[in-house]
């Protein structure tokens, strides 16, 4: 059954149709929330909140856009709200503690783990909007037009944001590399260097 039909049935008050939509998009929304808030538990709660919001307002959705982009927009607004509150109350997540998987397999390659940690740390340093653009573009495969529908603004602005986000991420990753090479060669000297 297509999204259009499922949404139409959900608008008529059929709960199973909406639950079908939940099952269809829960992984994508959860992945987006994970990228944005860098916290698996919070991401799960935010995903559920996003679906509940969508359920409450499903009747106001006129199917002019895709249900997927509409859902992403709700999820991103939930994440922004959460990040705003977290910033307000000073609850910062340490990038070293970010574990986005439920259980770590022991046979995982240590090098890959390290690369992943560095990547998450660099992503966590990006502004929320750039993180959202990168996630939507690279992981969800949205076009610039769809990204502009999710985040607001124009397709051109989404393209510029994506370019800027990639360059900033590259710079952070390069900075992490430089920092780590310096730690290995001269730990005493590097201890005095501010990380940021």
């Amino acid at each position: 059954m297509t999204d259009y039909q499922l949404v139409a049935r959900a608008q008529d008050g059929e709960l199973p149709a909406f639950e079908e939509l939940v099952r269809k998009y829960q992984r994508e929304v959860y992945g987006l929330a994970c990228r944005l808030v860098s916290d698996a538990e919070e991401a799960r709660d935010l995903t559920q909140q996003a679906f509940l919001q969508a359920f409450v307002h499903i009747r106001s959705f006129r199917q002019q856009a895709q249900f997927r982009t509409w859902l992403f927009r709700i999820a991103i607004n939930q994440c922004y709200s959460y990040l705003k509150n977290r910033r307000k109350f000073g609850d910062m997540v340490d990038a070293d503690e970010v574990t986005l998987t439920a259980d770590e397999s022991p046979e995982r390659d240590l090098v890959t783990q390290e690369e992943r940690r560095r990547l998450y740390a660099a992503l966590a340093r990006l502004p929320a909007k750039q993180r959202a653009v990168i996630t939507l573009k690279v992981e969800q495969g949205l076009s610039y037009e769809e990204i502009s529908q999710v985040l607001g603004g124009t397709a051109g602005a989404a393209r510029v944001n994506y370019c800027q986000a990639l360059k900033t991420l590259k710079k952070y990753l390069k900075g992490e590399n430089d920092y780590e090479m310096a730690v290995r060669t001269a730990p005493a000297a590097v201890a005095r260097i501010p990380r940021r």
Binding site: V56, L100, E139, C163, L166
Partner: protein, 212 residues
């Protein structure tokens, strides 16, 4: 860095995605063959994208999603139940009634007030009775109006008679006229004739003198 490199490096992420149009794609491709700096930049960006794609958010597993769906189902049922039991929100049009009807109601009120308070000062147009037109009305009219109308007709007749008398006094033989008049009318006529005689506008008539 050359200006051309700055210009083209802005488009490198799109070049990586293959979303550039033919012109820009050919331009960047030609430039990359000659510019090692831009080649390096492109490789670095490609590595970043590759790293992002290689490290997606891992799936938490079927148990996680089973638990997630159970919780989600309970929350959805609860939300649906609350939506059914809670009173329906008032439709917007109920709040729009005063907005839409307020202005016309105020306008009507103002119009009524203006008409009401200026009605006392408005000049009343009273139709004067037309002297030359003879009354030809045959419709039944109220008693008060009949009295007023008859009075008006009497005055009109009297006026007309006086006018005729003024015109005919010089040549009129008064005796038959006076004989038809009542005592009162006769006195009034003679009084008028005497006043006109004093003015010189009338000559003395033997019959009238004899009457006097």
């Amino acid at each position: 860095m050359k200006w051309r490199c700055v210009l083209l490096q802005r488009r490198l992420p799109e070049y990586l995605d293959g979303e550039l149009t033919g012109f820009w794609s050919r331009l960047i491709k030609a430039h990359l063959e000659t510019c090692p700096q831009c080649q390096q930049e492109l490789e670095a960006l490609a590595q970043v994208v590759q790293a992002l794609k290689a490290a997606p958010v891992e799936d938490p597993g079927p148990e996680f999603w089973a638990q997630f769906n159970r919780e989600m189902h309970l929350k959805l049922v609860q939300t649906a139940h609350e939506a059914e039991t809670s009173p329906a929100p008032a439709p917007k049009w109920q709040f729009r009634i005063p907005l839409y009807l307020g202005a016309p109601a105020l306008a009507v009120l103002l119009l009524w007030a203006i008409m009401h308070f200026t009605a006392a000062e408005r000049p009343v147009l009273i139709q004067q009775p037309q002297m030359t037109q003879a009354p030809t009305q045959t419709l039944p009219v109220p008693l008060d109006e009949q009295v007023e109308e008859s009075y008006a007709l009497v005055t009109m007749d009297e006026g007309a008679g006086a006018a005729e008398m003024d015109e005919d006094l010089t040549t009129l033989d008064l005796d038959p006229v006076l004989a038809q008049l009542t005592e009162k009318e006769r006195e009034a006529l003679l009084k008028k004739l005497r006043s006109q005689e004093k003015d010189g506008s009338c000559v003395t008539l033997p019959s009238s003198v004899s009457w006097a």
